[in-house]
Symmetry: none
Subunit: 541 residues, 2 copies
């Protein structure tokens, strides 16, 4: 059993991908998910390339991680300058991160055409920069950019670059296929040579692939077979062009097929959730066909497949889906989910018998068919459980709402929402303005029922995401709205689905507030539930 | 230079994928595209599994293909029956297709648990069925299902299955990794043994992979390196679970990197168009990150990349994109410099001097600070360029719009948009209903100006994404809307940013249509531009 270090580049190299955008606070959430998954090294970026990165490093410095180390990323020193005079290297030396990864050149073509640095000066840049970082008390990693192209061009110079880093004290040197065009046979043979040449220095050898030839996962695996013990990649293969090596199948393959112990069994079982969590945060539709974690990855259709799997899952499944936290999809009976539902109910403090669990599964199936998706909507799912057990009180009975948005010729937009609803036989009519339709609806609703349910004031809407489900019908397609809300202690998600984005938003908004009030009722009976019981009749009771 | 036969399974195995649906007539169009691409063998399905397949074979029988042969697909004979008594084999023998592919078992587990056939009987089924097809004057291929699992379980029996087919006259025997879980090192070693064992029989050896471990492309390539001379796969990797081996990168890698001449240069240059054509026909959004043919496959952002590519494309590109019919994309973001902007303008046919380029960069920076993000909004970016150079005509002058969405107590939602605008001194007022606010606005707008700009009818909105930018302010935060639109030939993105989701959507919608009409004006000056110049009197001419 070999130890293979897992190095995640999602927060740095992954962010080069099209449409990748995360706030510093969201990156912090990603770092914690990666830590929980069992990633060893999390590349967080350069500590001062812009204010957002600076904020991230300030946030990270205050956090504790149980498994992962944070790696700061930078470049070798500028040419014609001492390492200790380079302000960027000084930033790395001063930052809290215990690990620093420096990227540098290995390929003559780049030295000549891009950076215009001599080969000798480049070797000095590598060695002195790594030495400076090591002297600052850090673990230093060297990313050898364009390594495979450099090796093809001039084998001994490419190896000399790695050796310069190793001799200066780098813990790991990483062979990067930066342009992503190298094929598995070549990666295997080059890596075998690197491992054999660098072996005597005691340095660890790593691999960093891109998917431009569709072989990034395979290239990473054959590099490990050739002796690499450090793999870099991103969750879901995010990254520029065709993406980085996708760590999701890399980890699953290493662990389940090649005998490497990267994660604990419990951590491996969170792989599917982690992959989907990242997609949700980035507002990407999870790839249903993604190896191991996609919704279709273990889907069986056709009688023979279903019968075969029933006789012995090995007939049609290359691994047991539960090992990676995924599940088999059979187009017949759906008994597999009941355990999960009962477990989820137990966590929420809801007693769910076997019959109710079956009804919940039927209901979830029907709703998922309409486009609902409860993975990121725990609040809506808990409400669904409560509706099934009778342990649910609506906050109000809706009569009507209306939203008007209009833009005049001066470009000024006005938004107004009117709401008519009933609580305990009392009718409430309220109109409110807002920055947008959901904001206006939220304000009108709170204006109507805020006094009846004081805990509502603690509930903030934190995030709002909209996506088309059927991407083929343009603006007439089904819209899915995901809302995150928080009461300061807890964060929960809710979902709404409709052809109409406002209706879907309204549905998610109501779920969000109703779920939040459930919590409020539990934790603060003297406020919301109490006032309801004592107040306008039996409101809220 | 080795000849490698390309066998496309899109119309049979590919159709097992989720959401795959084509009429017989559409399948015929696919077959012609595959033929033009230079595919050698097109698997069309079983000639009578249902009326649609029957219709397809009738259509195919009447067609001429310049390069490809049609292969009919079926199974080995039923157990305990003579091959010439099996009605399904008779159908294959009678159909017009010159090639028949028979799938059969190789793995003891399946013989025992799924089909309940003895090992001896299975060998007889293979040999007799292939013999029957050959005697009917066809070229016979044998698909050895679950070959790698069978080989792991019982090497000599798995080889005996292949030998039975070869001895009965099969032209090619195909090793199928049906469950998709085999990794490249194993595929390489098994294939080398198969080629060496089967070599003396003179049979051609093929490979058929699935992507359950994320290695289908690599597995196909290493099999070829080990001596396989027939590769199976589907365009864009369509197929059940995680998909089949994606023929697109397989072909590009074989031809551009491994020295196999599969296609002519001209055919290879249609690879991108062919891949997108299939996606369009199947109503899938082309994967922007797909190796070789994706919109991002040769996209560069960041000053150093752009400068490097300008100095020598080999610095940052593994192959020349034009070889596969793709093109370089320079992405515009805060990081990009003047060179990117000038190059992008040049591509769009806009003359941009140095001063204008600087103004564009300032404008992009200011807009990105507000939350715009032009990477995925090439349409909006080109409009911004045109506005800077004066090469821009708005489609209309807006006076006012208004959206009303209301929900009654029966849960029925109604949406209505009213729009007031001016074109050439003429005022247009239109109201339309829609499934949602953007749909209603889109319909009202098209109702108002559709006759003036007939090309608008070709423009479809394809995708719509909304996300909050500052996620701490909940429903009052800034909303970013990204819209993708297409006119059948081209796909472009546009963006809108506002506190108000409807306003942001409106902005993206207008950009989307204005960009689409720029193309329309260029290609059809007699319609839209002509009518605009001559006034609303010539509307629709």
């Amino acid at each position: 059993m070999t130890f293979t270090a897992l190095y995640d580049c999602t927060l740095r190299d992954g962010m080069q991908g099209e449409g990748m955008s995360l706030s510093a606070e969201e990156k912090l959430r990603v770092a914690h998910r990666l830590d929980e998954l069992g990633i060893d090294l999390i590349e967080a970026g350069f500590p001062s390339s812009n204010p957002k990165e600076l904020e991230l490093f300030e946030l990270l410095a205050a956090e504790r991680f149980s498994n992962a180390c944070i790696a700061a990323f930078g470049m070798t020193r500028r040419r014609g300058m001492r390492a200790d005079e380079d302000p960027a290297l000084q930033v790395l030396a001063d930052c809290f991160a215990p690990v620093c990864t420096l990227v540098g050149k290995t390929w003559g073509l780049h030295l000549e055409k891009v950076v215009k640095v001599s080969r000798e000066e480049n070797l000095a840049m590598i060695g002195e920069s790594i030495g400076f970082i090591v002297a600052a008390g850090k673990r230093a990693l060297y990313d050898a950019e364009h390594f495979f192209d450099g090796f093809n061009d001039d084998r001994s110079y490419a190896l000399a670059c790695l050796r310069a880093a190793a001799q200066a004290g780098a813990e790991t040197v990483i062979c990067c296929d930066t342009n992503g065009g190298t094929l598995p046979d070549r990666v295997a043979s080059v890596m075998a040579e690197v491992v054999s040449e660098l072996g005597p220095t005691g340095v660890r050898v790593g691999i960093h692939c891109h998917d431009d030839a569709g072989c990034a996962v395979a290239n990473t695996l054959v590099a490990v077979a050739a002796g690499a013990t450090h793999v870099q990649g991103t969750i879901n293969g995010y990254g520029e062009r065709c993406g980085n090596a996708n760590l999701v199948p890399v980890i699953a393959n290493l662990q389940l097929k090649l005998g490497h112990e990267c994660l604990s069994e419990a951590q491996l079982a969170t792989l599917t959730d982690t992959a989907h969590y990242l997609d949700e945060l980035l507002n990407f539709t999870p790839d249903p066909d993604q190896p191991y974690v996609g919704r279709n990855a273990f889907a069986h259709k056709g009688g023979m497949h279903v019968a075969g799997v029933a006789a012995d899952p090995a007939t049609f499944e290359h691994v047991d889906p539960s090992l990676v936290g995924n599940r088999r999809e059979l187009l017949v009976s759906e008994l597999s989910g009941k355990g999960t539902v009962i477990e989820r109910a137990r966590e929420a403090g809801i007693a769910l018998d076997d019959g109710a669990a079956s009804r919940v599964i039927e209901r979830v199936k029907a709703l998922e068919h309409q486009g609902y998706h409860f993975e990121a909507a725990d609040g809506s799912f808990e409400l669904l459980l409560r509706k099934e057990t009778g342990d649910y009180e609506p906050l109000f009975r809706l009569e009507h709402w209306r939203v008007i948005v209009e833009m005049g010729h001066l470009g000024h937009v006005e938004t107004e929402a009117t709401i008519k609803l009933w609580v305990d036989g009392e009718r409430y009519v309220r109109t409110a303005e807002g920055n947008g339709p959901v904001h206006a609806l939220d304000r009108a609703l709170r204006d109507a029922i805020g006094d009846l349910y004081p805990h509502l004031a603690d509930i903030q809407l934190e995030n709002f995401k909209v996506r088309l489900i059927d991407e083929h019908s343009g603006t007439a397609a089904i819209t899915r709205v995901l809302l995150d809300a928080s009461d300061g202690d807890d964060v929960w998600g809710s979902i709404g689905v409709s052809e109409n984005v406002i209706e879907a938003s309204w549905e998610a908004l109501v779920d969000s507030l109703e779920y939040g009030m459930q919590a409020g009722r539990r934790t603060a009976p003297e406020s919301a539930a109490g006032s309801g019981a004592a107040g306008s009749g039996t409101a809220g009771s």
